[in-house]
Point group: C2
Chain length 316, copies 2
Amino acid sequence: MPTSNPRLPRAAVIREVGLRDGLQSIATILSTERKREWIRAAHAAGQREIEVGSFVPARLLPQLADTADLVNYAKTLPGLFVSVLVPNLRGAESAIASGADLMIVPLSASHAHSLANLRKTPDEVVAEVARIRAARDAAGAKTLIEGGVGTAFGCTLQGEVAADEVLRLMQALLDAGADRVSLADTVGYADPAMVRALFEQALKIAGERLWCGHFHDTRGLGLANVYAALELGVSRFDACLAGIGGCPHAPGASGNVATEDLAYMLGSMGIATGMDIGQVLALRARVADWLHGETLHGTLWRAGLPRTFIPETLAA
Amino acid sequence: MPTSNPRLPRAAVIREVGLRDGLQSIATILSTERKREWIRAAHAAGQREIEVGSFVPARLLPQLADTADLVNYAKTLPGLFVSVLVPNLRGAESAIASGADLMIVPLSASHAHSLANLRKTPDEVVAEVARIRAARDAAGAKTLIEGGVGTAFGCTLQGEVAADEVLRLMQALLDAGADRVSLADTVGYADPAMVRALFEQALKIAGERLWCGHFHDTRGLGLANVYAALELGVSRFDACLAGIGGCPHAPGASGNVATEDLAYMLGSMGIATGMDIGQVLALRARVADWLHGETLHGTLWRAGLPRTFIPETLAA
């Protein structure tokens, strides 16, 4: 059914982050060959933005040590916008050298989480973004810099994270040279009213540079949170196939919003994603097979699409 | 965090339907003693509306044969509003005799589903509601009549169900003497945009007599759909503890929205429910134990409440 809600965007992008956010949180290590196959099939299913890995030391995350190879492969697929995560300048230099289209620099608005997770204060991360920007510009590279503000809705270590602090850091990231910023509910504390309130303020600061919403489904509110952001015109969301990932502070809890469920919600509301959900579900089945023994999430794969669902190619 | 969204209601009611919608769909039969215990504990946790069963012939649903006994028990709990489902006049007569506060008469807006499930056309159900109203008034009883319009967002048998037909039947139910009407996404086909569109029109017809939204989480959109209805001021929702129930046409799929997840979403947004979520989670654990072997759903029970969650007694 086409949307009757004039506030909703006409199109939205699902950025697949399963290969990074998902795979870094689970025990199974996928071979480079299978990761390539995942990227290839996601592209064939219509996904046009994929975060393929992270430029971190291989001793910290050996399962992501093939990131440069994956960027290289992903860049051969027509129209695919390739993202990577970088924790610091050294990672950014690798990202620039790899030819990635965008590098995400995570910042945690929770001081406690920032120190525990990144070993830097949030403002030290801002300073690092300035160095990354300088390096990018000096290299004459086009790789975009996204400042990802995490624990934006609260933190398992610190508890409350003040919205004012989140917004201050977002402004600081832009001032330091980030091309894009995003907000992440790293630990699954957000609800739709919180999303509406924070994104409303963030949009005033960043406008179209507010690039993405990253929601975890830890407590079942992932898609409701996406909907609340959609109502404000936000049109890019991170998601993991089969909802892999999870929160290390809540064992067994769901990870990111599941790509297939999000694609269904958007498609059902008549919001174009360019994705073929049947192909996405087929890929999910293959990845689930590769990840045998891991706790997977998502709902659509059990029930299948409604009889009334109109594929995008017919809806257009 | 208190809501910054002026459109959201300040308070909402979760009507527990697990004892009817949930238990009628699963294999395990709970003893009357355990059902009483469930009702008692739900009341102690602050729930004030419970659908305790269904007045249908015991040969059809033997697991609900103790409905009169449960109404009797539930009516001893202070302030508890007790609902039952009735498929026809005979059931309504039992409901009236039992002293239930409200009887829900299900109507399926899908002609095909209505014939398959109720062996009546939708308009024959409307005519039955008129007879039920006459019987209720003749008995001088106070039992309210709710016309529940099911398959309101589509049907697994028929496919599309036209919104005009849903709204026509809703008006017909009110004309036939229903005190309340509600809309149900029986098979889990709704999305937030559809919910917004249909409830907007339904509110124009029924106003405050539009009593309840009933959403299934078959495809993961249950809470997003609740949020879309909340934004229109709808403030009563059916839910099943542990998300039991499900859809007979989608084996393994989730059932109703999970009570505990919905209570968390509402509480997090500062919408008062009167419920103590800790007690609700404790009850969920007990019921999960009783239903050992059944597929349960819901998300909050794994992760627990956020550190930042403010219990209602403190928030007030």
